[in-house]
């Protein structure tokens, strides 16, 4: 953790922006804010006893050390490129952008300006996920042949009717939202393999004014004012070197919620099951999950299976991500993880699924 206290400007003072600010102040850093909405500015100002701006340009010129950008996806590009142009390092909420073209322009700005540009794929900072990656790199699993990747919420359409469910503003639905996390993890586990072929189906079953019974709304609800995106995607992918993957992404589905990766290697396998924050509220159960299981077959006097449960200490992935970012800002060195290069690869993969995706 950085010893130096830094001043961080948060652009977009919604749930994510406020969460970042909460962690940053907890770490001893100072936060400032910018938002288009006067109410959000007032609340942020009061909560963190700080200054806010209605224009990010003014925030960027105020002498801050770095910027955290959590605007709607469509406004990542203008905000992030402006920040980097004036010499600021940035952490962007995921996905990198609402479209591949916009993501490429952000990537280009990061390369040209030489500023740090990290993207908020926070699940990667979970101890269980990092441990799996280390086992993969050590060769414990042999060669990874297949990954079953699921990010399914039973009822978790975020902010129905807000920008999250607008094609124009978000760039897509479940796939670009939680599917971006899934694709990031999948590519990370695969060693950033190139996708060869994709067969994908996208559905919108919980549309604008359809019946949407739920236990607790995920995020704010705007009575489904805008809703022109898919709420689930199922896909089968083949990668270079012969790896395959099944992908299931859903904001809402009549099945158990699951954010899990089942890896099959030539030598061993693993199941990693990630608990989502607030899942208890959505699911109505408080079962604790954030677990890793390993599957082996061994030869001895009798051939046998060895299934092991791995216990890792819980960690806060958001805090780990922000620590990585602040450390990078202080050191002035680009972090090796969840950087703009990786985020652009994720965006390409998500874009590919959208392009190949057909309605059922």
């Amino acid at each position: 953790m950085a010893e130096t206290q830094t001043e961080v400007g948060v652009v977009g003072l919604g749930t994510h922006g406020t969460n970042h600010a909460e962690i940053l102040t907890g770490m001893g850093h100072e936060v400032f804010g910018a938002d288009t909405n006067p109410k959000s500015r007032r609340e942020f100002q009061k909560r963190f006893d700080t200054t806010t701006y209605d224009s990010p340009s003014d925030l960027f010129q105020s002498g801050i050390d770095a910027a955290v950008i959590s605007t709607p996806n469509k406004f990542h590009e203008p905000t992030a490129t402006e920040a980097m142009d004036v010499g600021l390092d940035v952490l962007l909420e995921k996905p990198l952008a609402h479209t591949l073209e916009s993501a490429e322009r952000i990537h280009e700005a990061a390369i040209e300006t030489g500023n740090i540009c990290m993207v908020g794929f926070h699940h990667r900072y979970r101890n269980a996920c990092q441990l799996v990656k280390e086992y993969i790199d050590e060769g414990y699993f042999g060669e990874i042949t297949h990954i079953d990747a699921k990010f399914i919420r039973r009822r978790g359409v975020p902010g129905r009717g807000t920008w999250y469910t607008s094609e124009d503003i978000a760039g897509g639905g479940a796939m670009i939202d939680i599917g971006a996390h899934l694709m990031d993890m999948l590519l990370y586990f695969s060693g950033w393999a190139e996708i060869d072929e994709v067969m994908a189906t996208k559905r919108s079953d919980f549309g604008q004014h359809g019946d949407y019974a739920y236990i607790e709304m995920w995020g704010e609800d705007d009575e489904a004012k805008m809703y022109d995106v898919e709420d689930s995607v199922t896909a089968a992918c083949t990668f270079e070197h012969g790896m395959t993957a099944n992908i299931e992404v859903a904001w809402a589905a009549n099945t158990n919620s699951s954010h899990s990766y089942k890896l099959r290697g030539t030598e061993a396998g693993a199941h990693v099951d990630i608990v989502e924050p607030h899942r208890e509220q959505v699911e109505g159960v408080t079962e604790r999950r954030n677990q890793l299981e390993l599957f082996e077959v061994r030869k001895a006097c009798v051939d046998h299976y060895v299934d092991s449960e791995v216990v890792v200490p819980d960690n806060d992935p958001y805090a780990a991500q922000l620590e990585t970012f602040i450390d990078a800002v202080v050191a002035g060195e680009r972090p090796p993880t969840t950087n703009v290069d990786e985020a652009l690869r994720v965006q390409r993969a998500v874009d590919r699924v959208y392009r190949e995706g057909k309605p059922p």
């Binding site: 605007t71 709607p72 469509k74 406004f75 004012k225 805008m226 809703y227």
Partner: protein
């Protein structure tokens, strides 16, 4: 409601008033001769004659034989007024897209002086159901966009508006009493979609959604209209409202962030 910007001193210039009523009479009847203008404006024939000559001289009117019509100078002025409206620039492409997606006529409407003014319109493959050209005005109580505006206004403002209305029965379906109108404004309520079921033009249905700023200021409305034959109950009450709301929501968000994007590019 938008203020008309007139001086509050109570002093007005009679000859300017005459000029305006001459222009308005010509707008209603063009091309039109001096006799008709005289009847419409309640001024003497010689006064009207002096006015039309002066307006011709200044380039605001054109003479066609014995009659007069408005000149393109008004388009020059009107075009400039529209260019100045930020909403026009923010919503134009979305109105085009909506017209293409629905195949019908889509319009961008703003409120001024208790009337809905068409700021922009785009027409889909089926053509236009009505002749509501850019700049044309319609009453609020009998149009979808108008009702969408009224539903956003505070009760006192709506009361004042209703007080002033003559409730002209444009068709047999036109709302003709304040109570029915109030009930309908309540119904528009949280969903934010307003309907005109053949209330202004016989045989034409229209759906509209208001566009507001983050601080609650009313910016305008977007509408889609089509003849009843192409607008059955399902399309009128569900399909078009859904498409319209997707667009209206996007325009609202783009407008909220427009200052940021403008500041960056400038």
């Amino acid at each position: 409601m938008a203020q008309d910007g007139s001086a509050s001193t109570g002093k007005t210039i009679r000859s300017v008033e005459t000029a305006m009523s001459v222009l308005e009479a010509i707008q209603r009847h063009e091309p039109v001769g001096v006799t008709t203008i005289t009847e419409e404006t309640d001024r003497s024939k010689s006064t009207v004659h002096h006015h039309v000559s002066t307006l011709c001289e200044a380039g605001y009117l054109e003479r066609v034989g014995d009659q007069y019509q408005l000149s393109l100078t008004f388009l020059t002025l009107g075009g400039q007024v529209r260019e100045r409206k930020q909403l026009y620039h923010l919503a134009k492409d979305d109105v085009d897209a909506l017209a293409e997606r629905t195949g019908e006529q889509s319009r961008l409407i703003v409120e001024e002086d208790g009337l809905g003014v068409t700021l922009y319109r785009a027409t889909g493959e089926h053509g236009a159901a009505t002749d509501t050209h850019v700049g044309s005005t319609q009453d609020l109580y009998c149009t979808a966009a108008g009702k969408a505006f009224l539903a956003e206004l505070p009760a006192e403002t709506v009361d004042a508006y209703i007080e002033d209305q003559a409730f002209v029965p444009y068709t047999e379906h036109t709302i003709d009493d304040p109570e029915t109108l109030r009930k309908e404004l309540d119904a528009i309520g949280s969903r934010g979609v307003a309907f005109d079921d053949q209330e202004y033009f016989e045989g034409v249905r229209c759906v509209a959604s208001a566009i507001g700023s983050q601080s609650g200021e009313l910016l305008g409305a977007i509408s889609v209209s089509a003849p009843v034959e192409r607008m059955d109950e399902e399309r009128f009450r569900s399909e078009i409202p859904d498409q319209l709301q997707n667009v209206a929501g996007v325009v609202e968000i783009n407008s909220a962030y427009s200052e940021w994007t403008d500041a960056f590019s400038g």
